[in-house]
């Protein structure tokens, strides 16, 4: 078992790396995002699709060869509506839950409002989910 310190160090390293990679691609830049969503510049769209494709291919091979266990990601009624809401929020704020933090690191103060919104959204969703939906989301293997 990994020690508590090494787990924290690994997560710190990964967070740092992710912040740098997303910044280097331009995901924290609203203008780049605007170009992507309006198809004015497809660079980030291709980068995103490329990343998904590479990860999917490698995970597919690793799970078929049983190097890693295949993880269950169930479809549920909230998948489509949640995706639309996620995308809408992404366009409005120029950020997903990770990018808002990166924007803050770059000194963009409106990201504070996005972060407050994300926090409230996480809490509201849990309340609604437990009270009304209770879907099996198979969330992220956290």
């Amino acid at each position: 078992m990994k020690s508590n310190l090494s787990i924290h160090l690994v997560y710190a390293l990964l967070g740092l790396l992710m912040g740098i990679i997303l910044s280097a691609i331009g995901f924290a830049d609203y203008d780049q995002l605007f170009k992507m969503f309006t198809f004015a510049d497809t660079r980030m769209l291709y980068a995103f699709a490329g990343g998904v494709g590479i990860a999917a291919a490698v995970f597919g091979v690793l799970s078929v060869t049983k190097v890693i266990p295949r993880e269950r990601k169930p479809y549920h009624p909230g998948t489509v509506l949640g995706s639309i809401m996620f995308g809408y929020g992404w366009v409005m704020c120029g950020a997903c839950p990770g990018v808002a933090l990166i924007q803050l690191g770059q000194g963009r103060l409106p990201a504070v409002m996005t972060l407050i919104g994300i926090y409230l959204g996480v809490r509201t969703y849990r309340f609604l989910h437990e009270r009304y939906f209770q879907w099996d989301t198979g969330a992220c293997g956290i």
Partner: protein
Amino acid sequence: MHGYLNWWLGGISLGMFTILFRILTGRTLGVSGSWRKVAFWRQESASDKAFQAVNQDQAGAADALLAATMAEFGEGAVDELGMEPEPQAKKVAARQPIPWTAHLVFLLSLVLGGFLWAVYTGDLHISYQLSAIHHKISGSFGDMSFMMLAVALPVTV
């Protein structure tokens, strides 16, 4: 404006990072999950402790059963059953939940990553708007570009 990675280098970076995350943590990448862990840190901590307690009991029970089987029928019986004579607790421990503080560190490191990139590119400055385009969109809800984004959204997700 500084140059960003071209599409194929960006795609490789994203893909490799996702794989690296899975290899190092044993879990799939999900920032929303980290937010959940931090936002509900009290409940998640209690849940993790309960999960560990149950699993440790299961591991203890599995070890006891294995030991009893070996004592009754010998180690050969374990081989015949295809069971591994290793303590089950080790396997369970590898799937133990990640503490919420590690998720907090992950989220804070994203801030640091953005900061370091901005310093490196000389683009670090306090800004009260995300960009001129965003200001134009958010400052004028009747603007056609905003409507276009709203309509185009279901197509892009």
